[in-house]
């Protein structure tokens, strides 16, 4: 369930970050603290962007950072960093993002149910707008709860 992974402990709200690398690093901290990932997973996510380009910006304002299970995932986890000021993943403005999701998938199967709920959430512009405008993680949780069944 989406709301078992995205919780008050794994969601952060922040004004801004220095660059996209810092965005991924900060977004992943809750998963590091929980023990879902090892530090090298963060480096792997950053290398992914360097190798494949800014495709992790899946939709305007939304980025999903992840790497492969064998690159340092201990257990399934997801976290979210909401930025009030967007961060650039390339020179092009269509790669600006305010919502940085981090996915730590332990294998290629168990996260699919959660991802289908996340897909439902991300396909809804109103829900995205509410999350971007939220002033507290509790407000964000309320939106996420609606997409967790």
């Amino acid at each position: 369930m989406l709301n078992q992974l995205l919780t008050l402990d794994t969601i952060q709200i922040r004004q801004d970050v220095r660059d996209w690398k810092e965005a991924i690093q900060i977004a992943a901290v809750p998963l590091l603290k929980k023990g879902s990932i090892q530090p090298e997973y963060i480096d792997a996510m950053i290398e992914n962007v360097q190798d494949y380009g800014p495709y992790i910006v899946l939709a305007p304002k939304i980025a999903l950072a992840h790497a492969r299970p064998e690159q340092g995932v201990k257990e399934l986890g997801m976290s979210l960093l909401c930025l009030k000021e967007s961060v650039a993943f390339s020179q092009e403005s269509r790669h600006d993002a305010n919502l940085i999701f981090v996915l730590a998938a332990a294998d290629s199967e168990t996260h699919l149910n959660t991802l289908s709920q996340l897909a439902g959430l991300l396909s809804n512009e109103e829900a995205i707008q509410s999350i971007m405008e939220a002033d507290s993680t509790l407000q964000i949780m309320k939106v996420i709860n609606q997409y967790s069944s």
Partner: protein
């Protein structure tokens, strides 16, 4: 008809886009076999159409493969328009 949704890693974004592509195909009444994979596997796998972000599609283009680029991978209207333009009219 086989449609392959491709992303860099092949287990996060491509799966979510696959769900949206399936939703749109169902709405349009198009029968297709849709699956998702990573870029390396995608290059080796044959499909009638490849769908993904412009950055990934660029890397698949070889003049033979039919690729469909999506700017917003979560916009059902954009996916619908792209499928109608590229698949229905063929």
């Amino acid at each position: 008809m086989k449609i392959l949704v491709v992303c860099g890693v092949g287990l996060g974004s491509s799966f979510m886009i696959e769900l949206n592509v399936k939703k749109v195909l169902k709405e349009l009444g198009i029968e297709a076999d849709v699956s998702h994979t990573d870029l390396t596997t995608g290059k080796a796998e044959k499909a009638d159409y490849y769908i993904g972000s412009p950055e990934i599609m660029e890397q698949l283009e070889d003049g033979v493969r039919k690729t469909i680029s999506l700017k917003n991978l979560f916009s059902l209207p954009e996916i619908k328009e792209a499928i109608q333009k590229n698949i229905v009219n063929n």
